[in-house]
Symmetry: C2
Subunit: 330 residues, 2 copies
């Protein structure tokens, strides 16, 4: 294993210490390191809290800040945070308007966020993200996995929360964005979890994992590496076929081409070019596009494609100002 680290047990805490030092204008580390919150919390609005296993940076702590999350709870690498983390975060940033949990659909995350919601004494609701079309009922999940679409949910709901929407409105909006979002990923290499010290899975020199999960979970099938155009086409086909079941067969979309951590920007933009031309030919309008490492899988080489069907209202929320470590505009 080749990583910049001192020892596996300190990996998360040392990395988080660097993160909050570098972004001290935006975030602060909560008591006991249980959560990352905004440097300047605002209890007059609904508090958005997310979290999950670490190793997907900038998700989630990198999306804490004005216009997006109020706090994020980082678990150990690829391990759900514990209910006391979410509860501490909710108590720290939640006010009278309530708390909204945004949870990726993994069994551990669901269970722990649910427990925290039961323990929390204020108003609370949960949005469950399950955008991965690759597989149902993996080793990590019941139902579909929550993957890169989570960023789009957090951005859009975050903008609405900043605008003062109620907990009920934000819960409905989050569910609506989830319903309009689909993703699929592909891995060219495995990732290596620091505490494991060896790759999570192995791929031949000419193989890729089509439909891979963000923890290196198996996808639909292991196939021979082929052209970027063919790979993007297969991912787009799976996404488009799935969202068609919800009645979406064209129209304006946000396209996210997300790197898993080990793939350079030049390849991601090339994949974006393949995906956007394919989607345009299928009758979709590329209203917004975003490319980069946003929901990573440690050092895995690979990428995912996400689309969210949008209308003008969702686009206005997407375009609203955001200032976080991982996403800045407006």
């Amino acid at each position: 294993m080749k990583k910049f680290m001192n020892d596996a047990e300190q990996f998360l805490s040392e990395s988080l210490a660097g993160f909050v030092a570098v972004h001290a204008d935006v975030v602060a580390l909560g008591e006991g390191g249980l959560y990352v919150s905004r440097a300047a919390p605002n209890k007059a609005k609904v508090a958005l809290i997310s979290g999950g296993g670490s190793g997907h940076e900038p998700l989630h702590a990198g999306f804490v800040g004005t216009g997006m999350l109020d706090a994020a709870c980082p678990g150990q690498v690829f391990t759900s945070p514990t209910p006391d983390q979410m509860l501490a975060a909710a108590n720290a940033v939640g006010g009278a308007p309530g708390v909204l949990f945004i949870v990726k659909n993994y069994s551990g995350d669901c269970m722990n966020f649910e427990m925290a919601a039961e323990l929390y004494e204020g108003k609370i609701a949960t949005v469950l993200v399950n955008d991965d079309v690759a597989v149902e009922d993996s080793t990590w999940t019941t139902g579909r996995r929550g993957v890169a679409g989570t960023m789009i949910v957090e951005k859009i709901v975050g903008a609405a929360a900043e605008a003062g929407k109620s907990l009920d409105e934000l819960k409905a909006l989050g569910d609506r964005v989830v319903a309009a979002t689909r993703s699929m990923g592909v891995a060219l290499t495995s990732c290596t979890v620091p505490a494991a010290g060896k790759p999570t899975f192995t791929l031949g020199e000419d193989e890729m994992e089509m439909g891979v999960g963000i923890h290196g979970e198996p996808g639909r099938r292991r196939v021979k590496l082929t052209s970027a155009k063919t790979i993007a086409g297969e991912m787009v086909e799976a996404i488009v076929a799935d969202i068609a079941k919800s009645g979406v067969t064209g129209g304006p979309i946000i396209l996210l081409v997300n790197g898993f951590g080990g793939t350079p920007a030049g390849e991601l933009y090339l994949m974006a070019e393949m995906a956007r031309t394919d989607l345009a030919a299928r009758g979709f309008t590329l209203a917004r596009m975003i490319v980069g490492n946003y929901i990573t899988s440690l050092d895995m080489a690979g990428c995912s494609i996400t689309i969210t069907a949008v209308d003008d209202a969702l686009l206005a929320l997407w375009d609203a100002p955001v200032k976080t470590a991982g996403l800045v505009w407006g």
Copy 2:
């Protein structure tokens, strides 16, 4: 070789097509694909033009936009752009106030930018960046290499250009920032150039290249992988020893911890934590810190550490608003 690509010859043009499509609000592709310019050029100010071999994204095209570059000339991967590219860019974005070339110190880049400067019929000057303390006179360079500090030069000089400074003032400012900037890199793995199809160099499973260049050029020595603290300490020591020769032995700095493309954010923040605590202990003040993949080497795992000694005037220029694909704030 595992890359998202169709064929090596089309890699750059397809990747650039995606880049300008995704960032159409900020950049446009120049005629014949020779350069990337701002979507809305401003000939009333000095035009800043940079460029170099591709494979270092977001450098340079990702730094074109308000507050930074006016145009960038992308060569093939790790290959200097040709003089006609710089000349076309200068003719497209240069006005009466003149053109400033910002050039990383590699023999090919120096020669080609110099030729373009001779052919250009307007006012022109050049700032040469040579911040790498690792080696003098490598296979690619005479003198020190230009590496990650280039981003800091482009940002600070870009802000001054936006504020209407003259060509002479910008040339002097650029030289001053170069003189105040030092970098050093380390590689955990090689990169693979698409057209080559195999790694540029090989490292044992327990080895790293200390002082590596951004094209995978050899560094100071090949050593056993050790702790992040020791690695960061050795890089900081080399940087601090070098800048001390210029009389800088403490005071306010900008710290850039730059990923080479294959190293995930969690590790970069951990390295930032090691570097900042080390620098603070040596009497430096961390006035600003920035962490991410800014000057990459394709898919190389590794990172570099850069410091720039600053005063309030340089910090104000660093903090000035910037809107590019790769750097956004203010």
